[in-house]
Structures are given as C-alpha cells and as structure tokens.
Symmetry: C2
Subunit: 160 residues, 2 copies
DNA sequence: CAGTATCCCTGCCGATACTG
DNA sequence: CAGTATCGGCAGGGATACTG
C-alpha cells in the first residue's frame, strides 16, 4: 500500500517540493481520495465543515459541557453542534461523558488523538496567520485587475 | 490584535495543549472567524472545498497546464476546475501563465506562498495517514455501539 | 485547448418545535 | 440541560452546450 499515498503522507518526509519526478501522476491515490478510501479526505472533510475546528480549538483548553460550547460559539445551531460533536466522537477525537444527574450534564473532552489533531491544526492556523497579509494583498491585486478589465467593457452603460 | 487570536496562531508557539488558562473564551476571535475577518477561516474554506488540496498537491511537483490537471483528476468538472484555479490564483497561491499560441496554452504553477501551504498541508496529510488506523478503529467501535442500541429497539419488527 | 454560460439537483445547515 | 424531529432555503457542484 505504499504506491501512491496521497501527498506522500507515508513514511518519508516531503516538507519541500518535488523530491521525486512523479511517475505518471498518482491516479490511484486520487481515486482513493474521492472514494472516501483516503484517510486524508476524512480529515479534510472534518476540518472543512463549519464548526469542527472551532470545537476542537475550544476543547484544547480543557473539557466543556454542551451548553458551554453552545454559548462560546453562539452562532451555531443546537442541531449542528450536536452533529459536529457526534462526528468528532465517532472519529475518536473527543469523548462524551454523561453524568446521570437531573438536569443531565454532558462533558466533552479531547482524546489523545484529538489533541494530536489540535496541535496539527495549530500549525495550519499559524501558517495562515503568518501569511494573512500576503493573501490579502494578492486578493487586492487580483480584484483590482478584474475591475480594470471590466472597466473596458462596461463604459457603454454610461453613454446610454 | 494579540488578544484572542484564533488557535493562538499569533506570535507564540502552542504546538502542545493549553499553555494558557483562557480568560473567558475568545468570543471576539470566534466572531471574527465567522465574519470572514479571520485569516484562518480563509485557509479553512479553501482547503475545505473538494478540489483545492488536490490541485495544490499536483502542482507541488511542478507546473501543469489546464488539461493536464483535468486529466489527472479526471472526476472534476471543467467548471469546478476553473473555479478552483481562479480562487487559488486570487489568493496568490498559484500563478496563471497564458501563452498566446493557437491553440492556447495555460500553465499553472505554485507561487512561493503556495509552496508554503503545500508543505503545511503535507504535515496534515502525514498526521492523517499516521493515525488512519486509530480513526478507523474508533469508527468501528462507535458504529458497533450504535448497532447494539438499535438492536434493543428494533426486534419487535421480527415478532410481527 | 481553455475556457464561459445555463440548468438543475443534492445535501449542508439554520429555525423551530418537542422530549426525557 | 441536552438533546431529537421536521421543514425549508440556498450554496456547492455536476452535466451539458457553446465560444475564441
């Protein structure tokens, strides 16, 4: 299974660019990525949704109960918070502890696995934050060019 | 602006867990994250979509032209490939070079910024791949528990 | 070849109401 | 408090047809 592991996520380090000429393109790995066969896709799907990263981040500072999370995020609907928590629990990233009191109390906490992802996400966040100016500048430049090319087509509306 | 930077992505390293007790919960940072004010959300949105990571990965091995990418991914629609490439270009992650030949030829290539993200994504991919078994096991366990609890409700259908 | 334009459908997600 | 159930909007993304 060490043929076309997506992003060379396998055994060797590939932090920099092309260390291998790439045979023909890892078509197998790509197919796997789309089938849901690829473990990378799983994580991508999880962090791609609107709330998971937020929850993982909040739980990075220790366990919280349902309403604590709800109030902390505040813009999330009850439905989505529940779904998000269930998905994270299913993937073994958080634990769900029910205290059979009345009213009920449920604590959510990162597992060891969850803390690992939390750390990796922090890496990504750090990169994003460090390069926020570059991205913003790139967008400004791009949008300015767009506006210019539009300006050469639209002026007729002023001559009407 | 060093109050509640999301995921502590600011100036200090936080690779491991909670190094600060967290005052009250960084409500401001969370609001910013949802407003689109947060640079982390930008990256999350980008890598959260279906094709961006794939494209960045493929371009990690050098420039490619439109049809090369299309054929490499093969399941992507023309429409979505174009949109993905435009978004990446706008964010300054790739460059688009048009050769005014006939038929036209367009090359896409990672920028310096893009190569940085490529490296960070490789980190994430490596983590995902390294822990794929844990996630799979967690899911199996979870799903088995689910099936069990269902089994105590459903049997009536067998007694009908 | 490298796109743009149009149609359409699925599923994500929010709002609301109800329950143990 | 901590959920589940149901309805509905709308954006992401695919299929197809057309263009420079």
């Amino acid at each position: 299974m060490q043929d076309g592991t997506f992003l060379s996520a396998g055994d060797t380090a590939v932090t920099d660019r092309g260390d291998a000429p790439v045979p023909g393109t890892p078509a197998g790995a790509i197919a796997a990525l789309l089938d849901g066969t690829c473990p990378v896709r799983d994580v991508l799907d999880r962090i791609g949704d609107k709330w998971s990263v937020l929850v993982i981040t909040l739980l990075g500072d220790g366990p919280m109960r349902f309403m604590e999370l709800k109030r902390a995020i505040e813009l999330v609907s009850q439905r989505m918070l529940t779904r998000t928590l269930r998905a994270l629990e299913r993937d073994g990233l958080i634990t769900r502890t029910v205290f059979p009191t009345v009213p009920p109390r449920v604590d959510y906490e990162l597992t060891e696995l969850g803390r690992g992802l939390h750390a990796t996400l922090a890496e990504l966040a750090r990169w994003s934050y460090a390069h926020r100016a570059d991205v913003e500048a790139a967008r400004a430049t791009y949008d300015a060019r767009e506006a210019d090319s539009q300006a050469q087509v639209e002026p007729e509306s002023l001559r009407a």
